[in-house]
């Protein structure tokens, strides 16, 4: 079964558009996966994630490493290593949303989750990624392609 790759973020907030930039790079490479931009709401996976065995999340990161560093996590390592439990006035963090969906959406319970992100430099209103981050986008795409190979290999 084809995996699902989703991006999170907003390209009009500079490096917050990391997820979309990786998604575009993967689209240009013609990867064998379904690609969806979820905007800034991970809960939307509730609607679009049904029926997938493997779901790859692309997002911007902070709090670890230097700007432009690419990090990837899989399985329980996502919840163990990542945090976005900001209870905002208007939405919830993506990892919290992911946990809620895994707990309550039968169709997502069996899915394997993977996370690939780039450490952001500048999250502010504006267009375009910063230079270090821009250079890291193909690297992140390479990592996703490796993941897709492993997923395909495991499926036989």
């Amino acid at each position: 079964m084809r995996p699902l790759i989703v991006s999170i973020g907003n390209p009009f907030m500079r490096d917050d558009g990391i997820g979309q930039a990786i998604l575009i790079e993967l689209k240009d490479r013609g990867v064998d996966a379904d690609l969806i931009d979820l905007g800034t709401d991970m809960l939307r996976l509730s609607l679009y994630g049904e029926g997938y065995c493997d779901i790859v999340v692309l997002d911007s990161l902070r709090g670890a490493g230097l700007a432009g560093e690419v990090l990837s996590f899989s399985g329980e390592g996502i919840v163990r290593s990542l945090d976005s439990r900001m209870r905002s006035a208007h939405r919830m963090g993506s990892i919290e949303a992911l946990e809620v969906l895994r707990s309550f959406k039968q169709s997502l319970k069996g899915a394997r989750f993977h996370f690939v992100g780039i450490v952001a430099d500048d999250i502010s209103i504006g267009e375009g990624l910063t230079e270090d981050v821009k250079r890291a986008v193909p690297v992140a795409a390479d990592i996703v392609c490796g993941l897709l190979f492993d997923i395909s290999d495991a499926q036989g």
Binding site: F12, G63, A64, H90, I123
Partner: protein
């Protein structure tokens, strides 16, 4: 004079990501709250600026990025401002589809706010996940309601986060009767779930210390239907004005402490007796001014719970949203049922000439309140000037007043610990369901 500064950033979206750009600051001097400032970092100014010089069709695709949760609201209002400027009259079917699309936005937005943000506050949980263990049916209902709102937007808007199927003059692809039939069935199955939010809120009384009369503004329904559309904006002061004249009556001004402008209402004409007033807008304002037009089920629920819908208390906004959830599930079901029978899948968008140019000003009711757009299109079909006022910019001064009232009452009660005061102030802010440049997301590595 000894000054105690209680300063704590509220966890609105960007606060945790763009430090120092937003938060609440309350100054207390001699046990009196001397100032309250909501430092807001809001995006519309940027979007207004970057759309100048763009083709109008490209510009209306950019505006939904102002807020990913109100993307449909921004897209529809921007498209309708462009249509007003270019003299385009969409078909009745287009209007009904847009209304259903907009309702999808409401259902998704209200479900998210009530079930995943407000309820953990009220029920005493850190977040939705920790609440889920004790309230699993509630969380499941919240997900189901949010899903149907998202599905409506996906079916009509095609890509539901940016609504790219929604065009000036109509829709690129009209959804089929079968899709509308499926929506109708899903909406019918969620009627009882739509009452769950008000069932929970019944158990929580408003905080009386926040009671204070206030001015409400909302769009007046033209045809007796409680929706997001109407030709006039009316106020609880018994004044009104044509929505296209919003710039004469909703006056924006810059404040030093915030990136967002603040708004005041000027009734104008013979009613202008005082200085322009601060006001509020949103579900509570719509309920207060338009409650006679609710669907029967929503009306019954509101009549039974008038204490929870006190127009002088901002916490009533939560219950007003819960009433709207019932109302909009019913309205969406009616619309989907009608469209499942009548929809013409071959209808094409109305043709128009973008080079005609012109100025169009439109106001609609977004989930969290009045949303206004003015687009000035030049003779080459490009944006010459854009003006967007979001609901948050409109109710921000009132929200600051309420935060001050709450802080003062806590200080009067002998509480001075910011760690006790701050969550209470956050609850007040959250009741407004503010949209504060929400379109950003970053994950933190532990």
């Amino acid at each position: 004079m000894k000054q105690v500064k209680i300063s704590r950033p509220i966890l609105v979206d960007h606060v945790a990501r763009i430090e120092g750009k937003a938060g609440i600051e309350v100054m207390v001097s001699n046990k009196q709250v001397s100032s309250v400032q909501m430092n807001i970092f809001e995006g519309p100014r940027f979007f207004e600026a970057i759309t100048v010089g763009k083709k109008v069709e490209d510009a209306v695709a950019v505006f939904p990025r102002i807020c990913s949760f109100c993307a449909a609201a921004h897209k529809i209002t921007a498209v309708e401002a462009a249509e007003a400027a270019l003299g385009v009259e969409p078909s009745d079917q287009t209007k009904r589809l847009r209304e259903l699309l907009y309702i999808g936005d409401y259902i998704e937005s209200h479900a998210l706010h009530l079930f995943f943000l407000a309820f953990p506050d009220l029920l005493g949980y850190h977040d939705a996940l920790s609440m889920a263990g004790d309230y699993s049916d509630t969380v499941k209902a919240g997900i189901a309601l949010k899903d149907v709102g998202a599905r409506i937007q996906s079916v009509i808007g095609a890509r539901y986060i940016h609504q790219e199927n929604l065009l000036i003059g109509g829709f690129g692809k009209i959804p089929g009767k079968a899709q509308m039939g499926a929506l109708k069935d899903e909406l019918a199955s969620l009627k009882s779930a739509s009452e769950l939010a008000s069932d929970i809120l019944i158990n929580f009384s408003n905080w009386k210390e926040l009671d204070s009369p206030r001015l409400h503004l909302a769009i007046a329904p033209d045809d007796g239907r409680y929706t997001m559309y109407g030709s006039h904006i009316h106020a609880s002061s018994d004044t009104s004005f044509p929505m296209k004249d919003y710039r004469k009556h909703i006056l924006e001004h810059v404040v030093e402490h915030s990136f967002a402008k603040h708004c005041r209402y000027d009734p104008g004409g013979s009613k202008k007796k005082n200085e322009p007033s601060i006001f509020t807008t949103g579900a509570l304002s719509r309920y207060t001014l338009n409650k006679r037009s609710l669907t029967n089920r929503a009306k019954e629920r509101s009549i039974m719970n008038k204490d929870h819908l006190d127009p002088s208390n901002p916490l009533s906004n939560n219950f007003a949203q819960a009433v709207e959830l019932i109302h909009y599930i019913d309205l969406a079901h009616n619309l989907a049922s009608e469209l499942a029978e009548t929809i013409d899948e071959n209808e094409r968008p109305v043709k128009y000439d973008p080079q005609k140019g012109g100025i169009g000003a439109v106001a609609t009711e977004a989930p969290r309140g009045l949303l206004t757009y003015l687009l000035d299109i030049d003779g080459t079909g490009r944006i010459k000037n854009a003006d967007v006022i979001t609901p948050t910019a409109m109710f921000l001064p009132m929200m600051e007043k309420d935060v001050g009232r709450m802080a003062q009452s806590l200080v009067d009660g002998g509480i001075s610990d910011p760690s006790i005061i701050a969550p209470k102030l956050e609850t007040v802010v959250r009741s407004y369901d503010p949209c504060v440049s929400c379109s950003v997301h970053v994950t933190t590595v532990k």
